[in-house]
Each structure stands twice: as structure tokens, then as C-alpha cells.
Amino acid sequence: MNNLFVYLEIEDGIVKDVSLELLTKGRSLAKQLNCKLEAVAIGHQLENIPQQVFPYGVDVLHLADDKRFVPYTTQPHASVLIHLFKEEKPQIALLGATSVGRDLGPRVSSALFSGLTADCTSLEIGDYEDKKAGKVYKDLLYQIRPAFGGNIVATIVNPDCRPQMATVREGVMKKEIFDPKYSGEIHRLDVSKYVSDKDFVIEVIERHIEKTKIDIKSAPIIVSGGYGVGSAENFKLLYELAEVLGGEVGASRAAVDAGFAEHERQIGQTGTTVRPKLYIACGISGQIQHIAGMQESAMIIAINSDPNAPINKIADYVITGRVEEVLPKMIKYYKKNTK
């Protein structure tokens, strides 16, 4: 009872990275709270799931196996979680902020009347004082996320309602094996008690999972552009530099909204989180929502005409100048010195 639960997202029998990242975070939060880490797998043919998740320190693994659970549709998965949470009364429930987690989470939180915070960039444990009610709450989950287009960072708590629910994007938390020999207990659910036929109303007619062709997440070098690049035309310089350096092109939300780059290239809280060894930020002012997605880059070079751009504060090198003048020089001197 009152443990920490993680919903496992499964694609073709493989637990997704985002869920393993949540297990890693969940393991350390559970230790702080002195509670168990539990995971929920809803799918079909789940024989390989235990060996994938136990090394992350899972104490109890709930398996709901039924062939109708694949492919994912909202209500059957929601129904399992709602009923299971009513029985188990978790204090915390974490889901990936993916197209599945963001579809499922709100449905479950609404049914349980529990608070849900989307796209958290950090999760911590701490106390909360409700001064009006004169009450102090111990060991709540601090759900920390940028808000308002990334101009503020809000710490959200759910004082009275359980579970405290949060979604986190892929790549935001670290994935780390806890103990390769760790073994927990398996709890098989009698599916007929958790779902009814009425839950299976959505029919998936066709589905093709396309691997994203643009893979900024694993690129060692990212040349990223913001609204300050000025035009799609100027963005070509970024592609040129990325190509000679062997990297990928990323973009801020403002640049994507302006049509300078494809959505798949968006870096930040509502895009992809990256940790390359070199991040070259061109014409990016540095709203928190962007910073949240790239601040762990090993080295950051900021190119900006504004010497006071916020991104300069986290940059290792600040080049004050126009993108269209600086980039050609970088290309030129890179080529000159590598020949």
C-alpha cells in the first residue's frame, strides 16, 4: 500500500526507455520515502517484461495480460490502472509524457480525482505548508515544470489527493541499472475483474510506426537555431555546419512555430531533450523551455547578437555576433584546420 507506481510503456515486447528512466527515478524516490517501487505492465505476451524491469529495482510487477490490450487504446488501459490504483492506493504514479502517457494519464487522474502534472522536468520529495489551513504536509512529491511558455518554473504539489500523478518526457531523467540481480515479486491480474467489454470501443484500423528519420537525440553534435536565425533560408547555414561537423540540426519552439524547421527537430520541454557533447545555439535567446531540453550538453556555444541573451549564462562560449556572419567563419576555419 502507498507505494510508488510506474506505468510501463511497451512496444513490440520491449519496455520503452522513458519507462526505464521513470523506474530509475522512482527507485531513488521510493528509497527516500521508504516505500516500494511497483510497475504495471498492460499488454500481451509479457513473459519478457520481468527480466527487463527487475534490474531497475522493481519490488512488485503487476502484469495484465490480454491480447485485446495490444495495440494500445485508451479505455482498457485506463480501466486497469483505475481499478488497480483503487485497490493499491499508490502515493505516487508516474507515466511517460508520450502520446500514450498523455492520453492515458488525464483519463486516470479524472476518474480518481487526483492531481496530474504534465511534462515535469524534475521530481523531488519535500514538505508543504498550507498556511491558510494551518496544515503541514510531509514528504509530498514536488512536481517541477516550466510553465507559461517557459517563462517561469512552477513547483506543483497535490496535498490531499492520491496518487500524486506526473508525466515526464523521454530523455529528461537518467536511465540506470539499480542491481542486475535484483528480483521482485510478480502479481498477475485477473483481467476480467479490471476491464469490461464496453472498454473496447475504439478499433485500430491501421498503424504504422515510423522511426523518426531525424534523430537528434543520439547526435553527438547539434547545431540548433532559434527565431533569431531570421529565416528558413538562413537555417541552411546551420545544416551546412552540422554536415561538416557530423551533427544534426535542432530548433527552438519559436523557430519551429515560425516554420524554419520541422517539428521533429524541436528541442526543449515540449520537444526532445538532448545531451550532446557539443551544442551550438544560434539565435536562441534561451527560454527555460528550451534550456530544459539542452542544458546538460557537455559543451555549449551560444551565438547571439544580443550580448545579454539568457542562454549566454549557461554557455561555455558566447559569441556575440550575427549568425549569418559567424557560421560561415566556423565552417571555413573548421575545414582549414582539419585538412
Partner: protein, 290 residues
């Protein structure tokens, strides 16, 4: 036979065009400095509703929003583009609502609208980016949901077939009506205002707006009842007060931080040829590149 479509929409501060004065000195948001706009993905949802209206005989498009008096602006905007009527849910009882309290209030208002075949809304609003209100409204009403719709492929009186845009790829799903569908920003953009409709609805107003303007156009509104935008307070919808506003919001904001980064020791360069060449040499030498 009627076919009722409700579009849920929100007026939001334009967080994409945040200027220097958007934050006050104390680190709170200066809402007055941000222009209020029609939430972009709700416009995508409105377009889908208008397309269905063109196809399905007897289809009626109702716009429902919750917000302050000023939010009637987006109802007028919807009327200009082809919505049939609009409803504003407004009042201090709704203040401080998080996504769950908002969903509850909206679901009560939708119930009052009567028989609904389809609810459409944007995937998420740009001020919070939570994408929660759509699914939560569906749950409150006991309806199925389809999220991230990019295209409505087919609709008839019984079912809807939708192409969904997911992180990696697409999915085509069919669900029974009534249903709630959230529409992605990648769906077709909303048509512009129609000149005739803009003239027709220019003076459409809520009771609060009429009161604020202080002018007496009673005759105008009596003669043209379609200019009356319906405004509902908490008393107009059947509800349980504990689920509204602050008390209906399980999430509380513990604190808000203005953005302060831990500054690194940055090296400052001017962008001269000499400095750029030294930088590139340094990066090559320490194997960052090359």
C-alpha cells in the same frame, strides 16, 4: 435530424510572443502585457467542426469556452468563421481552476447543452501545454476519446474514423459516437473570417459585455436574437460546488520561480576571424569536433 458538435476553446495569453515586460519584478507573470489570443489548436478543432457541418446535414456547431468576460472575443471570432452559436462559462466560482476543475465545469455545461454527438477541442493550450482537459472532459462524461487527430477521414451518424498523429508515425482508428476528439496542430488550419458573417455578428455580445458598455441597444438585440451570446455562471449549470474552482483543484502551486540560471564561466568572443579560428582549433585539439 440534428447533429450537435461542441467545440471547446480557450482564450490564452500569447506565450509565443513574450516581450521583455512579460514578467513583473517579483517574478510573476504580467498578464496585462501579453496579448490574448484564440488557442491555436482550438482553431484547428473549429475547422474540423466546420468541415463536418458542410458534410453532415443538420449539423450545428456550438462553441463553448470558460474564462473571464473578455473571453467572449473568441466566441465572436468563431461566429465570424462559421460557428452557429457560443456559450461563455464565467464567474468567480470558476477562478483558480486547475485542469480537473476546468474539465468538471465544462462537462457540466456540455450536459446542459443536451444531446451532443461530437466534442472537438485542441490537443492542448499554449499557456499550460498539459493536454489534459480533453481526456478529462471525456472521462467526466463517460465518453470514449480519440487524441491527436490530424484528419477526420469519415464521419456518419454512428461513428467517426480519424487519422491520429503520434510521436513516431500515424494510426487510423474508428470509434462510436458520441465521442470526444482532440485535434493536433498538424491538422488543417482554420479558415479565415467570412466577411458576411463578420458583419452579421459584429455586435454579438454577452450580457456582461452589454452591461459594461452601458449603452442601451435593447431593440437591436430583441430584433436580432442571434447577437446574444449565452453566458452561464455556476448557478446556471448543475454542479457540486466542491468540484469547482480552487476546491475542485487537487494540484496546488507551491512556488513559482522566475528563470535564473546558474551562470557558468563563459568565454566571451566577438566573432572576429582570429577568435573563431582559435575556437575551432581548440575544439579540434580537445576532440570535441573532428
Amino acid at each position: 435530424m440534428s447533429f450537435n458538435i461542441v467545440v471547446l476553446a480557450k482564450q490564452v495569453p500569447d506565450t509565443r510572443n513574450v516581450g521583455k515586460d512579460a514578467m513583473k519584478a517579483d517574478g510573476t507573470v504580467n498578464r496585462a502585457a501579453l496579448p490574448a489570443i484564440f488557442n491555436p489548436e482550438d482553431l484547428n478543432a473549429l475547422e474540423q467542426a466546420l468541415r463536418i457541418k458542410e458534410k453532415v446535414p443538420g449539423a450545428v456547431v456550438h462553441l463553448l469556452t470558460m474564462g473571464p468576460v473578455r473571453a467572449a472575443e473568441i466566441i465572436r471570432e468563431s461566429l465570424y468563421r462559421g460557428a452557429d452559436d457560443g456559450f461563455l462559462l464565467s464567474g468567480r466560482e470558476f477562478a483558480g481552476s486547475d485542469t480537473l476543475a476546468t474539465s468538471y465545469a465544462l462537462s457540466c455545461a456540455i450536459r446542459k447543452l443536451g444531446k451532443i454527438d461530437l466534442i472537438l477541442c485542441g490537443r492542448q493550450a499554449i499557456d499550460g501545454d498539459t493536454a489534459q482537459v480533453g481526456p478529462q472532459v471525456a472521462e467526466k462524461l463517460g465518453l470514449p476519446q480519440i487524441t491527436y487527430a490530424e484528419e477526420i477521414i469519415e464521419i456518419n451518424k454512428k461513428s467517426i474514423t480519424v487519422k491520429r498523429r503520434l510521436e513516431r508515425g500515424v494510426e487510423i482508428v474508428r470509434g462510436p459516437l458520441p465521442i470526444l476528439v482532440t485535434v493536433n496542430g498538424t491538422a488543417a488550419p482554420c479558415r479565415p473570417r467570412n466577411a458576411k458573417l463578420t458583419l452579421k455578428y459584429k455586435h454579438a455580445a454577452t450580457p456582461s459585455e452589454k452591461q459594461e458598455s452601458g449603452s442601451d441597444y435593447t431593440d437591436l438585440y430583441d430584433a436580432h436574437p442571434y447577437l446574444n451570446i449565452t453566458e452561464w455562471g455556476a448557478n446556471d449549470i448543475e454542479h457540486d460546488p466542491q468540484w469547482l474552482g480552487l476546491s475542485g483543484s487537487p494540484t496546488k502551486v507551491k512556488k513559482i520561480d522566475n528563470i535564473v540560471f546558474t551562470a557558468k564561466e563563459s568565454k566571451r568572443l566577438t566573432g572576429s576571424d582570429f577568435e573563431i579560428e582559435s575556437l575551432m582549433k581548440e575544439l579540434i585539439a580537445n576532440h570535441t569536433i573532428g
